[in-house]
Amino acid sequence: MDAQNGAAGATSQPATFQDVIMALQHYWAEQGCVILQPYDGAVGAGTNHTATTLRSLGPDTWRTGYVQGCRRPTDGRYGENPNRLQYYYQFQVLMKPSPDDIQDLYLGSLRAIGIEPDEHDVRFVEDDWESPTLGAWGLGWEVWIDGMEVTQFTYFQQVGGFECRPVPVELAYGLERLTMYIQGVDSVYDIVWARGDDGVEFTYGDVYLDNEKQFSTYNFEIGNTDFLFALFNDCEAEAKACLDAHLPLPAYDWVLKCCHTFNLLDARGVISATERMAYILRVRSMAKECCASYLEYVVGQAPADEDGEGEGE
């Protein structure tokens, strides 16, 4: 097996899920990153954490790494699909400005979790990233290890329609996939999450299978759509009120709630294709306003270059 060193310590058993997380935290802490805890509200991706979205803006140096639980209600499979979850974990790293040796730093992080890059086929395969709801885009790759996509690697160019100067680099590791790879298991539910000295193991299934079943049922069948439609409007109004008070951080918190509410409605199948576009636009315009407000009231710079399209587009 691959994970004989680093994360797995002295034992001959492969790294557990929590070993992988702790190894990544330790590694990126050594690179000078602030190790944060997950954003405490529902988000669809590690990128949505304020520590990435908002902190990507402005001239200051910023380095962080954190685990983020991500909610994707439409991806629920009632716990029956070995590869798909409506709640899963990313490990997110953001470094601004992007270090010149970031690719090597990344390969070093693989070593830290027991994957020796020299013994595998590690590829950087073109994958341009774009988030319509955040008005953000960047260029980069999906990183493949022996044909498996394990990390999204992106140089952010714009967030909220604003140019990122300096440019941050984002790494988003798919923790379940990486651990499945390291442990050699074919179902996410067979991942060993923790292992005691007495040999007692807890699997991903022990921890999360019920969660997947129950939330899949809730997301697809139970969610009260009238309530959710009203909730979307209420959250949007609250975000506006915060923006009016020049409070971009709480405003953004409500925007994230709008996002999740929209995703729940989507999973209930009650958003038609035309409405979908309209909802995405509503979220995007709020996200952009949050970014503008953040630049103005937190960073302290007038948001002059909105939608400034670099020559890169």
């Binding site: 070995p82 013994e119 086929d121 440019v167 074919d186 890169g312």
Partner: protein
């Protein structure tokens, strides 16, 4: 004179495969042009590239440029100097334009007039002093579809530039870009020879790279892949297909490609082959292996960029990815099979066809109506007509199945599998499977008439709908691939599909009754669109433009008819060029002289012998041309017209049309009116005469 070698390497993070191919081609043109513009002599320039580097090698580079003495003739002296002998604005401007002081202008007489001359001398310049700017200029000149900034730099490139090698023989040239300073150190293969490696002299760069695990050109890497693939084929007695696009991609996804062979569990071969191939080629860039009979096997080729020592672990990892993917595919396929294909049509109501044109469900219903019309027009029997309508209604249903959502390239094909599994008629399933054909120029047409009618209905509905909402193609923008759809329809009609495009367009537009548009204008645009594409198709097939125009001028619009007539006309012209040429000339002459107001009631009593001969010939040909046309025998119509050549030539030779006697003159003009009239429904021979 001694010459030197230049090596220039832009070292980057991984460049996207197709962007790299484009940059390689751009540099091969830009680099020599930049050397020429700077007047740097060289013998040969090679461009070498890999995913992490773009290299210009220049051999036989002279140490200095040649001195250049030039003399430029300026304005006449009397314009360049005023009466007092002072230089005018004209003289100053000329001198400035040539980069010299006005006092340096010389005066000399040419053919009796005195002019000013500017004589400039560009001295020989050391190439080493010119190269840094030339090389630095190449970096931002490469065009990328998308480029990015990184760290705190303002420069843009496709991905971050991390190192530069710029050497003239052993000397490093000062070039920098976004924080990277040129040196004599290149970077090895990530795994096989990581880190920096010294380049002793410029000419050694390619070999240094080969020694550190980098095959520095697309050709070398493609060769390595082909050789490795051939070995595997020979070993296993199997065969591989290398689609050009995927081959280029894998060629540019590795610096040292090594094909290795993987296996998946045979039970997955129960999944439709198309999904397996899609998962392999599109998602993982693997090449599936087939046996000698062409059947898919459970072996596939991975193009690894890793260390051959660890090939077993790399194959094992890739096999696990394939297993997960095929597991997904199998799961999706089996899930999809739990419901009949028809049940998915309802769900098409959630898929937007086009914002103003409603959902795909609405499209399926329009297709059914259009299919009924087409089946009737093609004269199908009731059973076949029902097959067309059924296939039209079901052909989009697979868009909402799991397998197609996950593996988009198998749309249509999955529908066909699901139709069969749902107990649909075999002809219906077959038509569904082929209704996206032809997918590109030269692709096979659906091989049944039912299939062709479904394919035509689908494409025509899309064209008519998008034109109705003003979304027809413009310039290079054709987001709905309407041109391809149009060519597909024309190809099927030309291959003999017996339906009228004109009435099909009417029927398709009827389907958009709920959309607000100017029906006449839109219909004209669509007809024009088909005519233009038909012309392009004919031109591409080698037909001359005037032949197409001559046929179109006769008022035919059905693409199949236009194509058949144009080909017949071209055939007649090439088999008897003299007859057709003369006939065209005579037609043009008659057409210029004729006076339509006089009508064509010829007074037989006034005719002389040659006029009578022409009149008789016209009389006879007129009947046989319209007979030939109604029998759809266009070559016969042309042959009949050709028989007019002798009498009309004789007429123009022996008869003076513009006789002084008005009655005679007008009678002759009436005869010419009749002559021109015979051609009306065949082709405008006047167009042919212009060439």
């Amino acid at each position: 004179m001694a010459t030197k070698t230049l090596a220039f390497e832009i070292g980057t993070e991984e460049i996207p495969a197709f962007d790299l191919d484009s940059a390689t081609k751009q540099l091969a043109e830009m680099a020599p042009a930049a050397f020429d513009a700077a007047r740097i002599p060289y013998e040969r320039i090679d461009v070498l590239t890999s995913p992490r580097r773009l290299i210009v090698m220049a051999y036989g580079v002279a140490e200095q440029t040649e001195a250049l003495a030039e003399e430029h003739k300026g304005p006449a002296a009397k314009i360049a100097f005023d009466e007092d002998g002072n230089p005018t604005k004209a003289a100053e401007g000329f001198a400035r334009g040539k980069g010299i002081d006005v006092s340096e202008l010389q005066r000399r007489e040419v053919d009796g007039t005195e002019y000013v001359f500017a004589c400039t001398n560009v001295p020989a310049t050391p190439v080493a002093s010119l190269l840094p700017d030339v090389l630095a200029g190449l970096i931002p000149a490469i065009k990328w579809p998308r480029s990015c900034r990184w760290a705190s730099y303002d420069e843009y490139f496709v991905r971050p530039v991390r190192w530069i090698v710029a050497m003239l023989d052993a000397d490093v040239l000062p070039v920098s870009f976004a924080g990277a300073q040129a040196g004599n150190q290149t970077m090895g293969h990530r795994v096989l020879a990581p880190g920096f490696h010294q380049v002793p002299t410029a000419d050694k760069l390619p070999d240094v790279l080969r020694g550190i695990g980098v095959l520095p050109s697309q050709e070398e890497r493609e060769q390595a892949i082909r050789a490795g693939v051939a070995d595997i084929e020979a070993d296993l007695g199997l065969e591989v297909r290398l689609p050009q696009k995927t081959l280029l991609e894998v060629t540019n996804l590795s610096e040292c490609p090594q094909p290795v062979c993987g296996t998946f569990d045979e039970e997955f071969l129960q999944v439709p082959e198309e999904i397996i191939v899609d998962a392999m080629l599109m998602h993982q860039r693997y090449f599936p292996l087939y046996d000698k009979q062409g059947a898919l096997t459970n072996r596939f080729i991975i193009t690894s960029n890793g260390d051959p020592k660890h090939a077993a672990a790399i194959v094992d990892g890739n096999e696990r990815v394939v297993r997960a993917r095929l597991d997904d595919a199998k799961f999706f396929y089996e899930e999809d099979l739990k419901n009949p294909l028809e049940s998915y049509v309802e769900k098409l109501d959630e898929v937007v066809f086009q914002e103003q044109l409603g959902t795909v469900k609405a499209k399926a219903e329009r297709l059914r109506a259009l299919g009924a019309h087409l089946a009737a027009d093609a004269g199908l029997d009731a059973a076949q007509a029902e097959q067309v309508q059924r296939a039209c209604y079901l052909c989009k249903a697979d868009l909402v199945t799991n397998a197609v959502i996950e593996f988009t390239s198998v749309q249509g094909i999955m529908g066909s599998y699901y139709a069969t599994a749902s107990g649909e008629d075999e002809a219906v399933a077959h038509a569904i499977g082929q209704h996206y054909r032809p997918r590109f120029a030269g692709d096979d047409l659906p091989d049944t008439q039912v299939g062709q009618l479904v394919a035509l209905a689908d494409k025509l509905d899309t064209i008519c709908g998008l034109f109705a909402v003003g979304q027809g193609p413009t310039g290079t923008s054709d987001p709905f691939a309407l041109r391809r759809a149009c060519l597909g329809i024309v190809s099927m009609l030309d291959a003999g599909l017996p339906v009228s495009l004109g009435s099909a367009i009417d029927q398709a537009l009827d389907g958009y009754a709920g959309v607000d548009f100017d029906r006449k204008a839109v219909r004209d645009q669509i007809e024009e669109f088909f005519t233009t594409r038909t012309k392009v198709l004919l031109r591409d097939a080698g037909c001359s433009a005037d032949a197409v125009d001559a046929v179109l001028a006769a008022g035919v619009t059905e693409p199949a008819v236009v194509m058949a007539h144009t080909r017949a006309l071209e055939q007649a012209r090439s088999s008897s060029p003299e007859v057709m040429g003369n006939l065209a000339t005579a037609y043009a002459r008659a057409n210029n002289l004729r006076d339509p107001q006089l009508g064509d009631e010829v007074d037989q009593a006034l005719l002389t012998a040659p006029e009578q001969a022409l009149a008789d010939a016209i009389e006879q040909v007129q009947g046989s041309v319209s007979e030939a046309l109604s029998a759809d025998d266009y070559p016969q119509a042309l042959a009949q017209l050709a028989s007019l050549r002798a009498p009309v030539d004789r007429f123009f030779e022996e008869v003076m049309v513009m006789d002084e006697d008005q009655r005679v003159r007008e009678n002759r003009l009436k005869l010419l009116n009749r002559f021109v009239g015979v051609f009306a429904n065949v082709a405008d021979f006047g167009t042919l005469a212009k060439g």
